[in-house]
């Protein structure tokens, strides 16, 4: 088990290094930080001084090494645009994005899985057909359109929910949360639905397909032949066997939710990392972009590790093959 985690962490290192290289390359190839920082009027001496200060005259590998060393300490330099430490900016924005992603993922799982089970079990009922039609809309409508439509209906016409922002937030140490105020919770609803809808329909369709597949297997027929009740057959035996692929996709989707909250955050002016990223792209604020890229890579790598550990919990066959790998059994 420990060896397994260790090997996974070792595998993650080259991935992170590659992403770091790409992030680092942005400094050299996307825009010229020196001219951005200097503005309009400068002397050649000032320019040389700045290049020296930034270490841009040193060899490539030295610069890359320094970059990685700094990144490991969470140090990504100053934002060109806001002249504040990037780490601080991201730490400020992360809670908003993470809370939004958490709500969206929760909606996707807690609504998507039951809908998938239902449509898998009763595939000819009218409700299943309604769910499937609805899921087609969820899959095919672009996120920004869904967001705008929701705003139109619930904010403009009905006036029930706010159309932008996080509402009032409460500061818990460095973490700012919208969960503790009424307006914060209300502000979460529309963006979470917008962000979670695609994943919801995806999970629903996946669970449905997997259920249909599993319900055809011999062990389900045998469970019925043993006289087990519907609930035990459907949830104890069938649903559990659909979990491995569902966990895989749901895990990747969670990474996607965090990484690609950009559109939703833009539509709802949600003060999260995605909005920060978009604003940074507009201003060619490379340190922020580089840090964001590395952070997202880290999120994906971490989620993949967690997904692998969940396999291990769900499927005893994998457990024993891992056991065999470490020489036990």
């Amino acid at each position: 088990m420990f060896a397994f985690i260790l090997s996974r962490i070792l595998q993650a290192i080259p991935v992170m290094l590659t992403v770091a290289l790409i992030s680092f390359a942005m400094f050299a190839y996307v825009g010229d930080p020196v001219s951005i920082m200097l503005g309009q009027d400068f002397t050649e001496a000032q320019r040389q001084q700045l290049i020296q200060d930034l270490g841009l005259d040193r060899p490539f590998f030295v610069q890359f090494g320094t970059f990685i060393g700094n990144a490991l300490q969470g140090e990504f330099g100053l934002s060109y645009r806001l002249s504040r430490p990037v780490a601080e900016l991201i730490a400020e924005r992360a809670p908003a994005t993470l809370e939004l992603a958490f709500c969206a993922a929760a909606i996707a799982m807690f609504v998507g899985v039951p809908m998938g089970v239902y449509t898998g079990l009763y595939r000819n009922s009218w409700l299943s057909r309604a769910f499937l039609t609805f899921s087609l809309i969820g899959v095919s409508l672009p996120t920004f359109l869904i967001g705008i439509l929701l705003i139109l209906v619930f904010s403009v016409w009905l006036g029930w929910l706010p159309s932008f922002g996080r509402g009032d937030v409460v500061q818990l140490g460095w973490w700012s949360t919208g969960f503790l105020t009424w307006s914060g919770l209300k502000a979460l609803i529309l963006p979470s639905i917008t962000l979670g809808l695609f994943q919801l329909t995806l999970i629903m369709r996946l669970v449905r397909a997997e259920m249909l597949e599993v319900l055809r297997t011999d062990y389900i027929k045998f469970a019925r032949a043993r006289g087990l009740g519907n609930r035990a057959v459907h949830f104890g035996h069938a649903l559990k066997n659909t979990l491995v692929p569902v966990i895989t996709i749901a895990g990747l989707q969670l990474g996607g939710i965090i990484a690609f909250a950009i559109v939703t955050e833009t539509v709802f002016q949600w003060p999260g990392m995605g909005l920060l990223f978009i604003q940074s792209v507009g201003a060619a604020d490379i340190p922020v972009m580089a840090a964001y890229l590395m952070l997202i890579a880290l999120v994906f790598v971490t989620i993949n590790l967690i997904v692998d550990l969940l396999y291990y919990l769900v499927d005893p066959r994998l457990r024993s093959s891992m056991g065999a790998a470490r020489g036990g059994h």
């Binding site: 469970a223 043993r226 087990l228 035990a232 035996h237 559990k240 005893p316 066959r317």
Partner: protein, 347 residues
Amino acid sequence: MAAPILSTPSHSRDGGPILEVRNLRVEFPTRRGVLTALDDVSFDIAPGEVLGVVGESGAGKSMTGAAIIGLLEPPGRIAGGQILLNGRRIDNLPYEQMRRIRGKEIGAIFQDPLTTLNPLYTVGRQLTETMQTHLDISDREARQRAIGWLEMVGIPAAAQRVDSYPHEFSGGMRQRVVIALALCAEPKLIVADEPTTALDVSIQAQIIALLKRLAREKGTAMMLVTHDMGVIAETADRVAVMYAGCIAEIGPVREVVKAPKHPYSEGLMASIPPLDRKVDHLAGIEGAMPRLSAIPKGCAFNTRCPHVFDRCRHERPELLETGTTLATCWLYDPASEKQVPELLKDD
């Protein structure tokens, strides 16, 4: 219809048969019309008796088993006839009532032990789950019994193995677990659908011996579906030969194997290589079994039958007394004698 051979001649019994299948008809509605998968299938099984069911793939053997346990694959449905368990009709029960019968009164064994067990649960959990569904026993008691059942089906170190997962067992051992699962709520009837087909030959004999022993010890009746005549000869008291969704012949296993009466069973037995002498050429049956959508009018076997005569092409035969067995063949109708006297003399 001649009842004495349809039910058991070799076993004395107090009550009626445990299972009675009467004129069972199973249909599959398809886009191109309704297919009849089983047509007018009738047989009995007495308590403690083993009835072998043989036939080619697609003859309807497994379908019969599935109809009895009430688990026909939709859209298949019972379109006619009756199934009685201990004299009580079970073919028209609501799902929930039938569920209580499955496992408790009729156990089932499937073909492939590698796919029959849920890979995510220990064998002990699957056993206790089955027992606690049907019997009112505590967790402790269920676990004790689970270990007992594993011992009974010959799993070594049962007390440790009870917490193992299916993939930690070999195919033969898994089939033993399946047998334990089928028997653990002590049903009086087992429907075993090709229980040895997926196993190594050396394991097959062990599994058959185990089934035979347990059925005898527990007094469990068994419907043993297989296409292996060796297994039937070894295990069954009576045998039913199926062809294209019908019963061709049914009778005591010795009679059907040694002196088959239906031309199809005759062909089937002739195609088994004898062990005691060398043969240059193995007899086969010309042609192939018709698809369900193309079963000929009259007797289903008439296109391949060496003794076919006019009546076979128009009228479907019913089960007729042949002296030792029952066969759905017009050769055994006294009324046919005038038309084909020379054929009957042949036999």
